[in-house]
Structure formats: C-alpha cells, structure tokens
C-alpha cells in the first residue's frame, strides 16, 4: 500500500533552536509521526529527544555525537496510537525510507548501546551489477548442499536457527553470512516467481526505467571466456538480490557495516537436501543392497546434521528411524562413548 506523507506542524521550534537541533522535515505517514533531525551537539539532541518524550538509552549521547560529526541525519519515528487504531491495523507496517548518499553503509552502533546480548540483522540488497558484500568484515557462505535427516522437515526453523548459531560460533561471531545471492534475470529452476516491476519499484529499484532491461548475463561462466549476454526468460528484470545475515555485538562488531557492490553475478543459496527413503516391502533382489546403502546414507545425514548444528549424535540418532536403528552390525565403540 502506498502511504502518503502529510506535513504536520513542527514541535516548538525555539526550544529546538536553543538546543542546536534542526527539524529538517516533519511528516505524518499512516500510523507514524516522523521527524528528520540534524543537530550541532549530541548533548542538545539527547536533551531535545528526552524533552519530546523519546526514550533513549543512557550512553547514547556519545554515539549520537559520532554520527553528527559525520553529517548524518536522524530519522525518528513515533507510533501514533490514535491513527494506528483508526486505521484498524493489527501490527505496524514496515517503514520505507529513500535517500541519496555516497555512503554505502549501515549504522549499527546506536542499536547496540542498550542491547542485551547479540543482535540479529538480515540485509537484503537489490542492485544492478552484482552481489553486495561488506568491505570491513569477512563474508562467509553458509554451508549448502548437505543432505540431512528427513525428520528435520517437521521443524525446519529450529534446524535453521541451530545451524546458523553453530556457524556463528565457529566463526567467532566475526563475519557476515551470505544466505542468498541471485540474479533475478536468470534462474533454473526458479524457487519463486521473480518480483514484478511494480514490486521492485516500490522497493526502490530506480534503474528499471533507464533502459537497462532486455539482454542480461547468465551465471558466472566456469570456463575461460565469458558467456555472451542472452535474453532473460520472460523479460525478467535486471536486478541482483543479495541476502546477508549477521549476528553481532559490540565486542565483535565495533564498526558500522560498510558495503560495496561487486561484479559477482554467481547464484548462491544455502540449501539442505532431504531425501525420503523407500519404506515399502518386497523381495526385489536389489532391496538388500538398497537398505544397506540407505543405512550408510542415513548415518551420513545424521553426521551432517551434527556438524551443521552442533547437536549431539545420540539425540539425532534417537530421531532417525529404522535403517540406522536396525543396523545389524553396530560398531562396538559407539556403546563406549555414547554414540558421539
């Protein structure tokens, strides 16, 4: 839904001026009251915010000062409960902000001032040229392509959270994870329909009207020479999607995230393969061999799951049915160390 911004009267301007705070813009957008602020001093900004009913954590003044010296503005949104209930919305709708800046970065330090424990952040970027990556932190690809036990399907979310947590632990919480990188002009097969032009425009893709549609490159060529450009199926838009996932805290991520757009158009996604075993009965001559290979496969799947998530093998084996449990020749050492 397109929200219309309406200018509303500004809060007392004299007091703001006395504190060195400038209200650059003032909007009421749907259920939000929005201010865009600049200030000369962080103390003045902190005082102004507190006087105007904004709750800011202790210690924020120092971080505010760092951003002020870099000529950054503050976007302050307050939920207007009257408008919220009048609109009949159950939740809060996402905010969309458009601005021009040479700084391709994401300020994360203000949010860490009063954070209790690590923060979680998902970053989606839509770009014309290729994958986006941080320049001041390491990017690591999530493990992908591993076969895992069928039972994971019942609670995939639990698996994914555990897997992500384990990868963060292994990397010492010092990197940003690439979960997804995809050329929307190319997919085979497509996991979902590419976003429509209207959706992309709403998300801020501004180059669709600049004559960049039409011929697009395919995925990265594995050979020496490039694959020539070819038309995208169905006139898909020239957009590259990157999804980055980071878990961070002050100790491990002291700096704001700074990004760059690369020329990398290679597709990547963290994916996990679940293969359903054949469970029927019969006297087919290949059945014994299949069951034997199945047992090995399930063992490997269980080990993959343990490696990805850090879960104990004993717990995993308890949930992996049949083949592994009916192993006619269980290794004796498993009993000694409790299957670890």
């Amino acid at each position: 839904m397109k929200m219309q911004a309406a200018s509303v009267p500004s809060p007392p301007a004299e007091r703001a001026r006395a504190l060195g705070v400038s209200v650059e813009a003032n909007y009421q957008v749907g259920e939000y009251d929005i201010l865009i602020l600049s200030a000369k001093e962080s103390d003045g900004l902190e005082t102004w915010l507190k006087e105007n009913g904004y709750k800011i954590p202790p210690g924020a003044s120092r971080v505010l000062g760092i951003y002020l010296k870099q000529n950054m503005r503050f976007f302050v949104a307050r939920v207007n409960l009257k408008e919220h209930s009048a609109g009949g919305f159950k939740g809060l709708r996402p905010l969309s902000i458009a601005y021009e800046t040479p700084k391709f970065m994401l300020p994360i330090r203000l949010g860490m001032v009063n954070a209790k424990g690590p923060q979680e952040l998902l970053i989606y970027t839509l770009t014309a040229n290729g994958r986006v990556e941080p320049t001041n932190y390491r990017t690591v690809l999530l493990p992908t392509g591993d076969e895992i036990p069928v039972y994971v399907k019942e609670d995939f979310g639990k698996f994914y959270r555990a897997m992500f947590g384990e990868q963060v632990r292994r990397e010492g919480m010092r990197c940003v994870f690439l979960e997804y990188a995809w050329d929307m002009g190319w997919c085979d097969p497509c996991a979902a329909d590419p976003l429509t032009q209207a959706e992309l425009t709403e998300l801020g893709v501004s180059w669709l009207d600049e004559g960049m549609g039409g011929a697009r490159r395919g995925p990265k060529s594995p050979g020496i020479w490039p694959v020539p450009p070819r038309p995208a199926p169905g006139g898909a838009p020239p957009v590259f999607v990157t999804r980055l996932h980071v878990r961070y805290d002050r100790e491990h991520f002291p700096e704001d995230l700074v990004f760059q757009e690369t020329g990398d158009r290679e597709n990547f996604q963290g994916r996990y393969v679940i293969r359903h075993p054949w469970t029927g009965r019969g006297d087919c001559p290949g059945l014994a061999a299949y069951r034997s290979s199945l047992r090995e496969r399930q063992e490997q799947e269980a080990q993959n799951l343990a490696r990805l998530t850090g879960w104990a093998m004993t717990d995993i084996r308890r949930q992996v049915p049949l083949a592994a449990a009916s192993d006619p020749d269980p290794k004796w050492w498993r009993r000694i160390w409790g299957d670890k």
Binding site: R62, G65, I66, K69, Q70, P102, K103, F104, M105, N129, G130, E133, P134, T135, N136, Y137, R138, T139, V140, L141, G172, R174, C175, R217, K220, S221, P222, G223, I224, W225, P226, V227, P254, E255, V258, Q260, T262, G263, D264, R265
Partner: protein
C-alpha cells in the same frame, strides 16, 4: 667447484623475491584452503601462465635483460590474492596489463606502477566485472600476525622495511586521529588496523622496491602520502579499496620524489648476484654490456639497472 659464498643456491636465496614468492604462495594456499578465499580455481593457473608468457614476450620485445620469472610470479600471485572477476578472461587481461605495464610505463629506468596495483586499478576503472574484496581476510588477529610475520621477513630481506613501517605509522595516525576527532572507541581503529588486507598491502605491495622512491626520506614521504590518500578515499570519498587507489595515484609522483630526494636505485639481489664485474666508464644513456658496473666519481659503485622486476 663453487665455494659456499659463490654457490648458486646461496645466490638465489639472497634474492628477497624467492622468499616473497614462498610467502605469497603460502598465504594463497592458506587463504584458499583454510579461510574460504573466494578464488576461482581456474584463475590461478591462468594468471600464472599468462604473467610468465607476458614476461617472456616483454623481455624479448624490449631487450631488457634476460627472462626472469621471479618478479612476474610475485605480480601473478598478488593478482590471485586480490583480483576477483566474473570469468577467467578478466584474469588473462589483468595478468597482461600487470606485466605489460612493467615494460611500457617506465620513467628513469623504473616502471611507474606496482604491476598488480596498475592492473587492478585499470580494470576497476574500465569495467564493472572485476572487483576486490577488502574484507575477505577478516580481522582475526592471528591471521594478521601470521601474515605480518611472513611479510616482515620479506621486507627485511628487501631492505624496504622503512616504507612498511612509515606507511603503517602514518595510516595508524590517520585512523586514530579520526577516531579521536569523532570520539570513537579505540576498538574501531584497532579493528581497521587488524584487517588482513591492510597487512598484505603494507608488507607485500607498497614495499615493491622498483616502484618506491630511491631514497629513504623519499620512501617515508611516499608512504605518508599513500596513507593520507587512502584515508581520503575511505572517509571523504566513501569509496572502497582506498589503499589501491591511493598507491596508484601517488606512484605517479615517485619520479618527482626521486628528483627532489635522490637516492640509489634498488637492484634485486644486490651486488652478490654479480659475476666478474667489469668496470667501464659510461655516461647516462650509453649502451653498456650486461652485468657491467658504472664508475661514478665521486660516489659508490652501482650496478647498472636494466632489469624489469
């Protein structure tokens, strides 16, 4: 029979490039094997073979001494570590540009740009299909220490520790000065200094003896300028790869610095490489047999540098 002093192996080991090749190879193997460095496997043989071929063709074409693989290998390994491209065609072009620049872009008997730096900056300007990933090494301190240790050995042998130390001191001043002005915690400049890419640059790229000023004072000035330029690119222009852009820009100033602050031109391997030196009197620009020495009055004896490394 060779005495120990004259043994060919010893002569080879006295050339810091051998140690540099070993260090860069180790870092590449470690990066690909243990740090998940995003290097397309096909790039490595493509870059190495193209660089060597270009070096051979360039040597034949220019008549600048004998074919020597060592410098070309260093440039090629640095390209493998730094340059990323959409396909291997860019790797071929990068290797040709890097080595080709040594033969074609020369002033006062020295090539102007660090070959790897030139190729990367040229391609960053020319195309969107090539990029550098400055965050790829992360900031794990032990990685930085490992590379610093390997690099220290190289620069000590290359007698260019001054440029590394001057650059790191100047860049640390830029980062700490900015943190002080902004009121940031020291964790931020520390994090920026621990970047593995910075360590690689400081020990393996800016130290190139053939593209840094000849005098110590000149090198320290050069290092300070590169540090200031890198800070400008990162914090005023907000562009990535400030180190590479700054090095390329200030490399153009090296002939001027050499004129203002003259010094002795570096020769790979130093005088220990010479065999049966023949002293001849020569004027600048006159042809001299390979391996000959120029006698200057007054002053030290220099080997005529016609190398391309």
């Amino acid at each position: 029979m060779h005495s120990l002093r004259q043994h060919p192996l010893r002569q080879h080991l006295s050339d810091p490039r051998i140690l540099q090749i070993a260090a860069l190879t180790s870092i590449l193997v470690y990066g690909v094997g243990w740090r998940g460095l995003d290097v397309e496997p096909v790039f490595i043989p493509v870059i190495l073979s193209t660089a060597l071929l270009t070096q051979w063709v360039g040597t034949r074409w220019s008549g600048l001494g004998r074919f020597d693989a060592r410098s070309a290998l260093i440039s090629a390994l640095s390209l493998c570590l730094l340059m990323r491209g959409q396909h291997a065609g860019w790797a071929v072009l990068a290797a040709v540009l890097a080595i080709g620049s040594k033969f074609s872009l020369r002033v006062q008997g020295k090539h102007i740009f660090n070959p790897t730096n030139f190729a990367i900056i040229f391609l960053l300007i020319a195309t969107d299909h090539v990029w550098v990933s400055p965050g790829q090494w992360g900031s794990a301190p032990w990685v930085a220490l490992l590379m610093a240790g390997a690099g220290t050995m190289v620069v000590t042998r290359a007698a260019r520790a001054d440029v590394t130390l001057a650059f790191l001191a100047a860049y640390a001043t830029v980062l700490c000065g900015r943190a002080l002005w902004l009121g940031q915690s020291w964790a931020i400049p520390m994090h920026q200094l621990q970047n593995g890419a910075l360590v690689l640059f400081s020990f393996f790229m800016i130290t190139d003896p053939k593209t840094t000023p000849n005098s110590r004072a000149g090198r320290i000035l050069f290092a300070a300028l590169v540090a200031a330029g890198a800070g400008t690119v990162a914090f005023i222009l907000y562009r990535p790869n400030g180190l590479l852009w700054s090095l390329a820009a200030f490399s153009l100033l090296v002939p001027v610095i050499d004129r203002l602050l003259p010094g002795r031109q570096y020769v790979w391997g130093g005088v220990t490489q010479m065999r049966r030196p023949v002293a001849v009197e020569a004027q600048a620009g006159s042809p001299v047999p390979e391996g000959a020495m120029i006698m200057r009055q007054p002053g030290p004896v220099n080997r005529l540098s016609r190398e391309t490394g």
